[in-house]
Each structure stands twice: as structure tokens, then as C-alpha cells.
């Protein structure tokens, strides 16, 4: 059947979510040299790389950057990485990278890089997943998907923000839980392969999400979901089923 158009289109699911911030196009267009100043191991597969970027324009928690490495013959590899550090005026930013099997960029960081090395970055990029710290934040992450969420947690703490913030994070095991020592009362960890004695093993379920949505802050939660596509699909479905409005779910999928 076909029909003539008489009405305007209204999307049934109302994902007309705007970005959280206006993006500075000037800063994002310029490649800058970043100098590696420190490497910290987080888990057997993830490490944090601290970079001095003297002309960094500043970022909001949740934003990412583009990073590129150049080989001697001019070959270039570039990737998008979430920023792990909270915004500050240190002239430094931190990235936490998984060592991806056969990953040419993460492999260089994990096996070759040392303090003093330089790479190139441009950013910060995209305002969509940014959290300025204004609305109550409900954060769901898995694996290295915790990285941009940790920037939000750190920002929340550093600024002593009054809005509520809760994080639900999934890891294969306690050893694989990135930032384990830094997580506080705002965070609940879910372990999918092995857990400390007395803690159940299994994926994130409605049981984890429901109590968070039961305590609705004024104005409701803004939900941020980050991880693999499989996790993002699963976690966002849990949120929707628990009553979180789709227009207040922001997803960043790694891939």
C-alpha cells in the first residue's frame, strides 16, 4: 500500500537526543604532538598511558580523541580512544588501552612505548557522549568500556558535584577489573567468569539495574552505556525494560 503524505513525521522512539555540548571544531581539526610521561599497569591486559599535551584545549568527561602513529615509511595508523582522565589544568591527559590481539596501535603502546616517546592526537571529539556534570548520571560499562565512565566518576569526585552518580561495571574477573582500587561506593561490579568468594558469577541482569532505577533522582537519570556492541545491546535493553526512557540513553560502542 502507498499513501499520500499529509502529516509530518514523528519518530516513534524519540531518539532526537541532542549533543550535550557544542563541539569546538578548531581544536578537533589540529593534530598535536603528545609526549608519553608515564605508564601504569591496570590489569594483565590494560594499562594507562599519561600524555603531556601542552596545548590541549580541554575536554569533558566522556569525550574521545583520535590518535595516530607514523612508521618510518610514512604508513599511518589511527584509532579513536576515550579519555580516561577528568578535565584538569595539568596539561596532561590519560588513556587506558586494552592490549588488543594483533592490534598494531595498542600493541605498540603495550610492547614498545616508553616515557619520552611522542605520538599525535587530535581532539577532543564529539559532544554526544560527554557529561558536563549537570544531570544525574547512571553509568553502565564493561571491560575497557569503563574508561570514559571513569572520567565522569573522577570529575564527579574532583569537583564534589552534588548530582547523584552511580556506576555498574562488568568485568571478567576481579583481576580484569580496570581501576579496581579506585572504585568507591558509587560503583557495583559484576563478574562474568570468576568472582571473589560469596559474589555470584554471571552477566549483568535486571536485578542489578532495577534498584538503580528505583531510586529516581529529580529529573531522572541520564544513562551512559559503553563497551562492546554485545554488551551495549544487552545493557541498553536492560535499561529500557527497567523503564529508562530511550531518549535518555547514550551509547558508545567500541569497534
Amino acid at each position: 500500500m502507498t499513501e499520500t503524505v499529509t502529516t509530518t513525521f514523528t519518530p516513534p522512539t524519540r531518539f532526537a537526543v541532542p549533543g550535550r555540548i557544542a563541539v569546538s571544531t578548531g581544536a578537533a581539526a589540529v593534530w598535536q604532538t603528545a609526549t608519553l610521561t608515564e605508564i601504569r599497569r591496570e590489569t594483565p591486559h590494560a594499562a594507562t598511558f599519561r600524555l603531556a599535551v601542552p596545548d590541549w584545549a580541554g575536554h569533558l568527561p566522556g569525550q574521545h580523541l583520535m590518535l595516530r602513529l607514523t612508521a618510518g615509511d610514512g604508513y599511518v595508523a589511527q584509532r579513536h580512544y576515550s579519555i580516561a582522565s577528568a578535565p584538569d589544568d595539568s596539561g596532561h591527559i590519560e588513556l587506558t588501552l586494552d592490549h588488543v590481539p594483533d592490534g598494531e596501535v595498542s600493541g605498540w603502546f603495550h610492547t614498545v612505548a616508553r616515557p619520552g616517546d611522542t605520538v599525535e592526537v587530535r581532539g577532543p571529539l564529539s559532544g554526544f557522549f560527554a557529561w558536563p556534570g549537570d544531570r544525574p548520571a547512571l553509568l553502565l560499562g564493561a571491560g575497557s568500556g569503563v574508561v570514559p565512565l571513569m572520567s565522569m566518576v573522577r570529575h564527579h569526585r574532583a569537583q564534589g558535584l552534588p548530582v547523584p552518580l552511580r556506576m555498574l561495571v562488568s568485568a571478567r574477573s576481579p583481576e580484569e577489573l580496570i581501576y579496581a582500587q579506585e572504585l568507591g561506593a558509587e560503583t557495583t561490579a559484576v563478574f562474568t567468569r570468576s568472582a571473589p568468594t560469596g559474589v555470584p558469577v554471571g552477566r549483568m541482569t535486571a536485578t542489578h539495574v532495577a534498584p538503580l532505577l528505583a531510586e529516581q533522582p529529580p529529573g531522572g537519570w541520564e544513562a551512559y552505556v559503553c563497551g562492546s556492541n554485545g554488551f551495549a545491546e544487552h545493557a541498553s535493553r536492560l535499561l529500557v525494560e527497567a523503564g529508562q526512557p530511550v531518549e535518555h540513553i547514550r551509547i558508545e560502542r567500541f569497534g
Binding site: M1, T2, T13, T118, G255
Partner: protein, 201 residues
């Protein structure tokens, strides 16, 4: 050139189909939508073209599927730097839809929008001449929901965020209006061969 100490990278492949800054994702097809994948059945799907056209029109699933079929076999390129080679999509050329609605001569740009409310802008010229499709099949099977099924826009010569998933309609305009990612700092056109990733590229 700013050479990275000790970086060699993957073995070089001479691939003239690979735009600058891209790598071959092989068998992977990453999903990067920013919203919740909608629960949208073919029965709930519709596609409309309106704006600067002679006869605005809405097609439901059966009406769209009744148009002459057309397929795309080639490559796709994502702004996050992966490219995927030799993909096969089935659907209908947008030209077939435009023949029904007859765009006005004054139409220069389009805004494509999804059943989720996602949107993206394109010059009209990028949607005509056999270079854009409404696609519902991938590799001979129904397009998966996370990849935009039941039907998505397919504009393979531009970065893939222009190929709106869960396509709901296209509005023709006489000016350019930024869509979802374009308001979030992405390039207004997104030509991978000129590496138009972000605003200002």
C-alpha cells in the same frame, strides 16, 4: 612527518580501494550506533520522501519491496577508520523512489532521518545517479536490526554514518541542515577519499 619510534604497523598491502587513514576490518562489521537498537518490524516500518518534491509519498514495507530491485556490491568506509570490502546489499535504488516524488529543481540538499529520530544531511547529488539505496538485505539475508534492519539508507561512497539505519524518510531542502553527528562535530559531507571526518577537515 612525525615518525613514531619503533612503530612498524601491519604488513603493507597495496590496496587502491582503501581510502587514506583507513584499515581493512576483514570479516568484522562493527556496530557503532549511539542509540538503543529499536524494536522495529517490517510491518511497523515505512519510508517517506517529502519537502521540495512534486508529490510527497509514503511507502510501507510491501510497497517499497514492490519497486524494481537493485543491489550494491563493493566497499564501505566508517569514520572510525575501518573499511569493509566486498559487501553485498540488496534493496531498491533511491532513484526509483525519486521518480515517484519528482524533486523540484530548487532541491539541493537532503536530510535523511530514522525511525529512532537519528538524522544525517547529504547533498541531493549524493543520493541520485545510482549511488544510493534503501537496503534490506545483507549478503542475501535480511538486514539485522543492529545494522539498521528492517531497512537502512545506503550511501557507500560517503562515510557510513551518512547511511542512516532504520531509515524513515528523506526531506529535500534548498539548503544544508546539519544532522545528528554533523551537529556533534562531524563533517557536513564525509567523503572518505578526502578524509572529511570532522568539521573543518
Amino acid at each position: 612527518m612525525n615518525v613514531t619510534r619503533g612503530f612498524t604497523g601491519r604488513p603493507r598491502v597495496d590496496n587502491p580501494g582503501l581510502p587514506p587513514g583507513q584499515y581493512d576490518a576483514g570479516d568484522d562489521w562493527p556496530v557503532l550506533s549511539a542509540e538503543v537498537t529499536p524494536d522495529l518490524s517490517p510491518a511497523d516500518w515505512s519510508f517517506r520522501i517529502d519537502g521540495l518534491v512534486e508529490r510527497p509519498h509514503i511507502w510501507d514495507w510491501d510497497a517499497a519491496r514492490a519497486l524494481p530491485g537493485s543491489s550494491y556490491e563493493g566497499d564501505i568506509h566508517c569514520v572510525t577508520s575501518w573499511s569493509k570490502f566486498g559487501v553485498r546489499f540488496g534493496g531498491v535504488s533511491l532513484d526509483a523512489f525519486f521518480q515517484v516524488v519528482r524533486p523540484h529543481g530548487s532541491a539541493t540538499h537532503a536530510i535523511a532521518y530514522s525511525h529512532t529520530g537519528y538524522s544525517t544531511n547529504l547533498p541531493l547529488a549524493d543520493l541520485t545517479g545510482g549511488r544510493a539505496w534503501i537496503a534490506w538485505e545483507y549478503d542475501g539475508t535480511p538486514l539485522a536490526p543492529e545494522h539498521g534492519g528492517p531497512a537502512r539508507l545506503l550511501v557507500p561512497h560517503l562515510y557510513f554514518w551518512k547511511s542512516a539505519k532504520w531509515i524513515a524518510g528523506i526531506t529535500l531542502l534548498d539548503h544544508d541542515e546539519p544532522g545528528f553527528w554533523e551537529r556533534n562535530g562531524y563533517h557536513e559531507r564525509g567523503n572518505p577519499w578526502e578524509e572529511q571526518r570532522y568539521s573543518g577537515d
